[in-house]
Amino acid sequence: QEKTVTLAAYSGIFQDHYMKAVVEPFMKANPNIKVQFYGMPNSAQMLGTLRAQKAAPQIDVMIMDVSVAKAATDEGLFDKVDESVSRNVADLYPNARIEGVGGVGVTFDNLVLLHNEDQVKTPPTSWNALWDKQYAGKVAVPAVPDIQGTTLTIIANKMAGGEDYKKSVEAGIEKLGELAPNVQTWDPKPDVYTPIANGQAALGIGWNARAQVYSDAEGSKLGVTLPKEGSGFQINTINLVKNAPASDAAKTFVDYALSPETQARFTEAMFYAPTNSKARDKISKEALARTAAGSMDQMIGIDWIAVAGIRDKITEQWRRRVIPLSR
């Protein structure tokens, strides 16, 4: 008999590539399991849905940002993913196995600086390009609670010479306040890459993996650079929903998603760095170079579990002190 696994993850191109590189091969390999992909724009909404359905969950597996996964785990919405679920867990890099989170890391990614190649002739090398008055009204920044905004806060905090972000991001907020007048939209639709690619905006911040995919598209005007100040690291985790209807099939899927072959295939497809240490060898050099794995040394260490605790505060600061300055 056929089983259906409902997988919730990011919509848009993530969905397209994940379907092609992971879900479809999985279904071919497991003909009796059907995977339904439920795309959602961000992790926060995934948590919201999960929470609303707590009484009768409809989602089995959820791929979401680690900090949100922590909150969900704390609320008891997730089961533990360990070696009993998948033997691949043992092969994961240590920073893919996070204390206090039910699931485990499934992709690594980092924040990059985006530009439109028509409007920005020389690729910028520093985050400071965002502050350039020349691009007033041409900057697209996904604001918090999107974690791209959170990551930018931490980067800005460091650039402004602020103290440890875990103690205070005051300096970063100040600096972002100066950025605000330049910003065209704090909520780029459908994502930050499209408006930059089509020229509605000139500069922006986004995740490396997707940016790489967009920049590969035919005739794309999207340029991607990793600024010299370095960047922040992001982890997507794969989680099992507690009391979900299809738990055995869901575990089969998680095991498949963490396997070296799958990880390698997805990296080739979308330039997320793999979390399985055994996947690295199976990936082409060029692809790997374009992932976060190619630039691990330039990353600011971000403790996402700690950030989860201060996220609400950062959000408040943005809404009160950053965004209003852009009106």
Partner: protein
């Protein structure tokens, strides 16, 4: 949309079918759905506004006024409320201004032409607001036809999207059909004979408008404004898509708090606030109507 009068029919005592029991049985289904889908949820929402929100989205059952006091003690929310009201009022007024000529023209046209125009007015109403907002995104974009046209005239192109202007343009268009239909409903009192009477008494067209047409259409204006204000305050899809993340309104905030931040007690409190604003709008409407009468 908003008239709250029961349609009247002459009273008759109808011997059969008139038993209270039958009546109650016939009313039961609607009462049930009303209770499950309306009364209960709204009361529950009120209750929720006195609960405590836990970090990460949990809710603790208590009885606290913290949400309410927090709201009014916080300049962010005070500004948000004021902003919601002023934006909604601007939208209402803009809608009125662009709808009035159409309504007046429609009121004066007759026959098939009138039917055709009515269909035109209503057809956007039947097209999802999502779709229409989508159309506005294409129209108002920096590369879009409007900005290009303005730029072609040699004027520095204004930003039409991702700001209050964009939200007002989009919502104005989206609410126009409601306004036009309300105005038309209220134009019932506008007998063309009365306009003719004014002219025969020596009033030129402009004076006829100010002294006769406008006063007589005030009930329609009041109805349309109430309706559009209510709809503007509660709309969130258009502000979300056209607001560029910088327009914080009550409705978008309710949605964010409910779905993204998962602070249900706060969302509930904000919802109650919206209801209070509506109550005020309704009261204002009733007063205006009474003043007109």
């Amino acid at each position: 949309m908003m008239t709250i009068t029961v349609p009247t029919a002459p009273t008759v005592s109808r011997p059969a079918l008139g038993r209270t029991g039958t009546a109650a049985a016939l009313l039961l289904p609607i009462a049930l759905i009303n209770a499950i889908g309306f009364i209960l949820p709204v009361l529950n929402l009120l209750r929720m506004s006195f609960n405590e929100a836990l970090a990460g989205g949990g809710v603790r059952e208590t009885f606290t006024l913290a949400n309410w006091t927090g709201l009014f003690g916080d300049s962010f929310y005070v500004e948000l409320i004021i902003n919601s009201i002023t934006v909604s009022l601007s939208i209402t007024i803009a809608t009125l201004i662009v709808s009035y000529p159409i309504a007046l023209y429609l009121h004066r046209s007759t026959g098939r032409w009138r039917t055709f125009l009515t269909v035109l007015v209503i057809s956007p109403l039947l097209t999802s607001a999502v779709v229409r907002t989508y159309g506005w995104i294409a129209l108002l974009a920096d590369q879009g036809p409007i900005v290009s046209a303005i730029a072609a005239l040699g004027i520095a192109p204004p930003r039409l999207m991702f700001n209050t202007t964009g939200v007002i343009i989009g919502l104005t268009e989206i609410l126009m059909p409601y306004m036009i239909l309300s105005l038309l409903a209220g134009f019932g009192r506008l007998d063309p004979r009365v306009e003719e009477a004014a002219m025969s008494l020596g009033a030129p067209p402009a004076k006829t408008f100010w002294r006769v047409i406008l006063p007589l259409t005030l009930p329609g204006i009041a109805l349309g404004c109430l309706l559009c204000f209510v709809l503007a305050v509660s709309s969130f899809i258009t502000p979300k898509l056209l607001g560029g993340g910088r327009i914080f309104l009550l409705a978008t905030e309710i949605y964010d708090q409910a779905i993204v931040t998962l602070n249900w007690p706060l969302a509930a409190t904000l919802s109650m606030l919206v209801l209070i604003i509506f109550g005020a709008a309704l009261a204002a409407y009733a007063r205006v109507l009474r003043a007109i009468e």
